[in-house]
Each structure stands twice: as C-alpha cells, then as structure tokens.
Amino acid sequence: MTNLNVVGKSVLRQDAYEKVVGGKGFPVNISLPGMLHGKMLRSPYPHARILSIDTSRAEKLPGVKAVMTPKDVPQIIFNPIFFMPADSMAIHRDMLILSDTVRFAGQPVAAVAATTVAIAEQALSLIDVEYEELPAVFDPEDAMKEGAPEIHAGVKNNIRATPSFGAGDVEQGFKEADYVFEGTYETQRVHTCYMEPRVCVSDTDSSGHVTIYSSIAHLFGLRERLAYALGLPVSKVTAIQAPYTGGSFGSKLDLAYIEALSALLSAKTKKPVRLEHTRYEDFICNARHPMKVYLKTGVKKDGTITARYASTLCDTSAYSAHGPEVIMVHAYFGLMLGYRAPHTKWEGTVVYTNNMPGGAFRGYGAPQAAFAVESQIDEICEKLGFDPIEFRLKNTPRQGDPHPFNPEWKLGGYALDQCLTKGAERMGWSNRAKAGSASGTKKRGIGMAAHPIWVSGCVGFPDIYEHSGAIIRLNVDGTAYLSSATMDIGSGQNTTLCQIAAEELGLKFESVRMAPGNTDNLPFDAPTHASRVTYSSGNAVKVAAADAKKNLLEVAAIVMEANAADLEVRDGMITVKGAPAKAMSVADVVKRAESPFMVVGAQGPTPTTLKEKGTIMGISSVAPPANASPAVAEFVEVEVDTETGQVKVLRAVYAHDLGRVVNPAAAQGQVEGGLQQGIGYALMEQMLFDPETGACLTSDFLDYKMPTAVEMPSKIECIFIESNEPTGPYGAKSLSEACLIVPAPAIANAIYNAIGVRFHSLPITPEKILAALGKL
C-alpha cells in the first residue's frame, strides 16, 4: 500500500500543546457554577461491620450541604466493570455504593458535600462511626483454608470461581514427552500510575436526570454502570466526553465510588458536586491482580511441545470486579494460545481476600502469564541446549494458519517469525555469552521474550462489548468533523482516528478534527482497552468516512457532470481520473450541498438541484470481522551489579508486527511507555500493605517506585513489521498491551544470562538478587 498520504506519517497531535499545558479538556479542570466539593470517609479496618454512624456533628459544620451514609444510597448490588453488560450472567455482582460491611482498608463508608474541599475534609473528622472489627485475611492461600474469615456470606472458602478448560489428554501428552519441566511463578500487585487522578463532576437535575463528567476510558460504560447502580434507566444518565484524559492504562474501566456518590450528593443538594481522588485514593482504587501460576510443559527431544498444564491462583481481593474475567484472558491469551500443544489443561481459582480491589491494567492478566511461560521456555532451552529463537519458531503459528482462539479466523497478516529473527539480528543475539559466564563485579546479560498471540479488541469474547461508531460531517470550508465515543486516554487515539478518516476522505490531516460529544448524541462505542482502538474504532471510522466520501462524490458528480465512480479525492481536491485538469475542491462541493437553492458566484446566479442538497456526512456502527493477533518479540541487555544487586537495563530491541504503522511517533511512544511499565514490573514496582491492618504503605511516589527517565535505557530500538492485516483498517492491527507483556520475562531472562540465577517471583529487587547470590 504505497499510495497512502496521511496513514503512516508522524503527524503532530492536534491536542499536543493543550495537553502539555494542562488544558481545559482534562476532566480534572471541569468546574460548574455553584459546584460543591465532596470527600469520602474511609474505613481504617480491612474487615468490619458498621454498628452505627452519627453524622450530626458533621452536618452542623457551616458549609456542609449533605452527608451520605449507607442508609442514604440505593442498596443495589452491582459489578463495576464497564465493558460487560451490567446484568451479564458472566460477572459476579457483590458491591454497593456504600455498605454496612467493610471488606478492605480504605473502603468508603460515608461521603460529604461542602462548599470547599477543606470544609468537606474537616467534616469527615466529625463523623462518628462505630465499627465491629472482624478477622481479616490477606493471603489468598490462607483465605481458602477451613476456618478462614468469611468475606462474602455463603461463599465457601472464599472461592469465587474455579474455571478450567483443556484439549486432548494432558496425561497422555506428558507420557509422550521426553522431558517435563515445571515451576511456580509469582507476580505482585502493581498500580497503573496514570497522571490525571480519577475525578468527576455530577449535575443531577430536578427530574433526576444525571449529567456526569468523568476521567474514564469508556463513555457508554459509565452511563450504563452508573444508571444500574443508581437504579435508573440508561436514558436518565448523560455522560459527557472529555476531549482527552490523563491516562488510564486500564484503571478507568470501572465505576468508582466517586461517580455514584457525586450523582447522589448532587441530587440531594441540587448543586453540581465534584469529587477528586487524592493519589492515595487512586492507589487503593484498583491494581493489577497478583497471581501465582504453576506451569508444566512436556517437550520431545527435538523441541516439540507435547503437553502443557497450568493452574492459576488469582487474588480477586475484597470484591469480584474483574477477577473472574481477567483470569480467563490470562489463561487463553496469556498462558495457552501462544505455543502449540496437542494436549492442554488449565485450572483457575479466583479467591476473595481483604485486600484492595483488583482492576484492569494494560495486558489484563497476560503479563502474569508471560512471566511464567517465557521464563520456563528459557529454562527449557537452557537445559536442553536449544536456541530460544529456534525453539519458539518451532512451536508457534505462521501466517495463514487458523487463529488458535477461533479457527474460523485466519492469521491473515502475521509475522512472528520476522519479529524473532529481525530482533535477534539487531540485538546481536548470536554473540550472546553462556549464562553466568560474565566476569567482574558488574555482569552483563542478554535475554528475550515473545508473545505470539494477543488481541486487537474483543471480537469473539462472549460477554464483552465490541462495536464502535463514528459520525463524519463535512464543513463548507472543506474540513471534516469526526465524532466517536472512543476515549483518548493519552496514547493518541484521537490523532490515529483522524488520520484514518483523513486518508479515507482524501483530506489533509489538518482538515479533520475530533469533535467530542456525549452519550445522548454519539453512537455506542466499546472502551479504550484490549488494544482495540486503531483496529476496531479505526475500522468504524473508515466505514463512516467511506460513507461520507460516497455522498460527497455523488454531489460532486452532479456539479462536475461526471460519473461518481470516475472521481477521486486527494488533499481536498476532487478530480476526474485521467483528466486532472477537471478539478473541484471539497470545500466547493460541500458549499453546494449546504447552499440555498440559488448560488451566486462570479458567473452570476446558478440554480442548484434537490439532489445536491443536504449535509454531507457518513455514519457507522460496526464491529470488525475478526480479532487479528499482533506478534511481538523483545530483546534486552542488562547489567547486574553483583555487589548491590542493582539491575540496569542498558538496551532494548522491540520487534512487533502491528500490520500497519498508522503513526510512527505514537507507536514508538507506546513501546517506550510499555517498557517503562515493564521495567517497573520486573524490577521495582510493588504495592505493599501493613500485614496487621491492611493499610497501604506505598500510596505515593515517595514509597511506590516506578522507573524515571534515568532508569530507562538510552537505546530503545523499535522494529515495526507491517504484515498488512486483511481485516484491519489500512492493514493495521494492535500494538499497545503487548509492549508491556514481554519486558518482565525478557529482563528476567537477561538477568539469568548475566548471573546464572533464575528468579520465579517479581519484582526482582536488588535485595532478592543479593540474597540469591549468597551475599545476604
């Protein structure tokens, strides 16, 4: 596809300047006249029953307009996840906006609205809550034991779900193997650390209609979930789209307490009410699920995998929320689909504890899985003397193969082989030294990890929304407005979609602008998650743009006295194929369509016809025909200080088949951001809690350590492979999440190569390394 004008260019983001200066478009900057400020009182206990709440002192404080306790809120049990239907049978509903039972330290028990934040805060200290403390359990294995505290009534041993699947006969598969490898791999709880806090402003009118502005990643999900929790029909909630938000990484895919409470406080006070999380509140809002994965693999002498068995223990925390869903994505797309095996079996356990809620986080269960799978492949190759590249090539699918998740789809454009071979070549893989052979105090090593099968959205998932809509309207100045409920969460979604629209319409990039809307006037869209926007929303935008272009050319054909099929558009000019002199601008055609019946120009008055009349626009609401898999391999070089245990990532080579690069600079940004989060996951990030009280110890950036620019390697090389996916817009498929799935195992494998020590739990801290080296 050589004749692309806009797709494939690193165009400047239209909102770049606004965002850098903290622009008005961020939801955190929303302010409405007469707005009140809310605050939530949170439980200091991880497990307790509320015996009484006395709000009388708080209510007397001047400036306090409303105080809300469990008895003031609808007692509707809900699940907060945005992207599944609120009444889906596939999710477990176990949350209340405010409950008499506290199940994690920091759970809100009351809320206040006041004229200032300071007064609201002061009012919290005047609310008297009498708690009956209950025994708490924080370790998921302890939670399953007989006699463990019961966290949700009737849930035996706190086990929420025990899903499983398999194919073939796994026992037979292990009998056929010449070697069997097994290991247990543990991952920790980490937070996404988005920049903009969760914040919302609700304005509930006298009829009970809620209008809400919020920093979320799914506009229609907010509408549906908020309506459900409040007991309202969806048509009584309007969610306003922010032009951009300050990051999500998955953390803004579920209803937060603030959204429901602001709507209720607004209804009670008849004023707009704003709530904003402090960083502490953001930290305990949701996090990546810690998992413990047991993985067993049978291998023949020639390196063929015969059987794979895995089991996963997932701490879903105080509430079910994402737990039962994240473990399925983890199992299919993280553990089992990437490498071929005739015999497979997986068993999962989702357990309640008194820990803070689990949530969605870029990769949704796959980073936990990839750490197990890719570490174990490294162990297999080391033990049996296989080259890790060759081993992966032998056991992974090829272009044209059936998609392992749904054989009705083909791996249309799919180049994992090129990711592996080109990445290895760039890194100098063939020069890799034997593990542990480096000399000196500071030892260097090279490692790699791949992720063969991942998603571009959620087509094929039975319970997850997956369709997008777009509206394109052409203006009389030759520009176009694109409207879509897709949320830009910072990775350039608006820009990418405008590029696709401009390409299809034949306009310059600068001529297409994203025009935000709301749930009253936009077609439904699934969330910004699952690496879906370019592929899935992009597909919808392309369909809408094609529709608009068809309408444009029909009018142009009349005016230009040509056949619409003979017209083409480029850079805002419409020409007749083969007769470039016969041209007309898009602006002039749109003017004709929008004009009164007589157009007065230099040649005098010209009548127009009914057939030319009407705003030129296009509309779509579609799901893509498949779920194209990207493919990725990452190579890293590390240096381990064997006196301190510190690890420095010196270099990274990231090879990814994304079908088509729509915006190279934005794509590179995704890779760098993913590596930064991956280095944090591998080496330092970890949410820690007081073992007695369950209180979060790492609730600001002094105690929660994520890599800064200084910890990033100076060389991050991207190899983007364009396999031209037949089902994607201009051949594009996904990028985002894979960037964070592979770094941790690649780094762990590189550490092994450097010092000859294998780590089976994350993060691999300096202290763990020093202990493993026998120096502590």
């Binding site: 330092m684 110890l697 609730s699 950036f701 105690d703 620019a709």
Partner: protein
Amino acid sequence: MALVKLKEFCIPDKPEQVDACVAKYGENALILAGGSFIHGLEARGLLSEVEALVDIRKLGFAGVTAAAGGLHIGAMTTFAQLEQLPELGSAPWLGALKDALTYPPMQIKNAATVGGCLAAACPFFDIPTALLALDCKLSTNKAGAKREMNLADLFSGLFENSLEPGELIIEAKLAKPAGRAASAFIKLEGTANDLAIVNAAAYIALDGSGQCQEARITLGGGVGDNVVRSSSAEQVLLGQKLTEELLQRAADAVGQDIQPMADHRASAAYRLAMAKVFTKRALSLALSRLN
C-alpha cells in the same frame, strides 16, 4: 491527616517577626525554608499538631562566600545555587558535596535549601551526610543572639534538632583543609527520585608520606536516627597507607557504628551490607581524587 490544626501562615520580613510567631505557637510552629519536604511529612501524618507555618524565604541568608579559608554557605542557599559554585568543580576536598548535589531531582534542587535540609534532621537526606564528612560548622541566630555549633550537635533524634524554638541556622561553614585532602559521596536509591536507602561519604587527608592523616566517614539513609559518623572505620585508616585491602577493612568496620533499620524499602541486613559496599566505594572514589 493533613495540617488539620493549622491556624496561621506567617511570612515574616524581619527575624524578630519569626520570634513573635514562634512565641505564640511554641513547638507547634514549623519553620519552612525551601518547603520541599512538607508534603512528604504531611502525607505521613507527621504534621497533625502543627498550628503555624513560618515561611522564612523573605529573610535573606542566601548566597555563598568562597574565601581562602573555605566556604560560608548561607542557610537559604538552594541546592541549585550551590551547585553553580565554581569551587565545587575544582576542589577535591569538596567532592562529597559536589557528588551529593548531583542526586536530587531538579524540582528539589530549585526549592530545597542547605539550612532547611539540615534542620529537618531527616536521616534519609544526602547533603547532611556529605556536610558531616566535611566537618561542617553552623552559625545560628535567635532574636539577635548568635551561637556556633558543630553540625554533629544539631541532630538530636529522628526528625528532631537541638535548635531552640525560633533559633534559625544562618550559615553552614566549611574550613579548607591544609594538606592533600579529598572527599566523595555515593547514594543507594530505588530510582533517581528517591530518598537514600543508604548513603555514605568519605573524607580523607594524606600526609607527605602518603599516610592517612585525617579521615571522616559518615553514613545516612536509615542506618540510625540521624546521620552517623563511623569512628570505627576511621580508626582503621588513620596513620596507614590506604590500600584496597585497608579500605575494605574500614568499610567492614562501619557495622560497629550503625543501627540499620528495616522497613518496606529495605531489610536491616541489606542496609548493613550496602553500608559496607557504599563506604568502600566512597573511600575508593575519594582516594582516586588524590591521585
């Protein structure tokens, strides 16, 4: 909780106004110099009794005088200002201070002051470890009454200093050593935006025959309530030729003088091991500056 009892934010123009504000609130008045640490303390509930904040940025006390006899550093000099000092680049004896100033993030360098970071008595800071190794002396002022003290005497406990209410550090003074001297500072941190897990500074002076005439080894970052000076390590070095083996012996001796703490950032055993590693590295770096 935040500053729930805060009643007054004073911004005095003259030193005597400091005294008025402090007299009114006593121990519950908190003096703010650069103010870069207040968020960290507040978020951890350590300021819940504070009733008044006294911002002394209008009082002056900024700037550095470099003289043949050494440096006089005004207490309100920011890290960024101090970093500009040409002497830091050319004098090996100031190496520890130069090193310590490279670590803080730019936002901290622009706000934090030398006097403020000393008075905070925080064991996790870097500049105090470096200045203690340089045998820093302080001048203070309380309602016009001046006094001199050794930096070591300023620290009286975790986040506690020996200043009287209303007494301000005016100046930190470093005397230039007569002979061949050099110093160095190294820090162990989780990221470039971190307080020290462990830090170490070493100052050594050699006589004409190359033997160690003077040594000061200091450690911070959770190895005691305040910055610690390791006389055991210093004793190993004094009067000796500084070989690699001797530096290692000195480093191993710091364990006798420190009491590493265990928290979620590091275990006591790891801090102890790192105190030795970083002392050795600081000593080696200082020694290299003499050659």
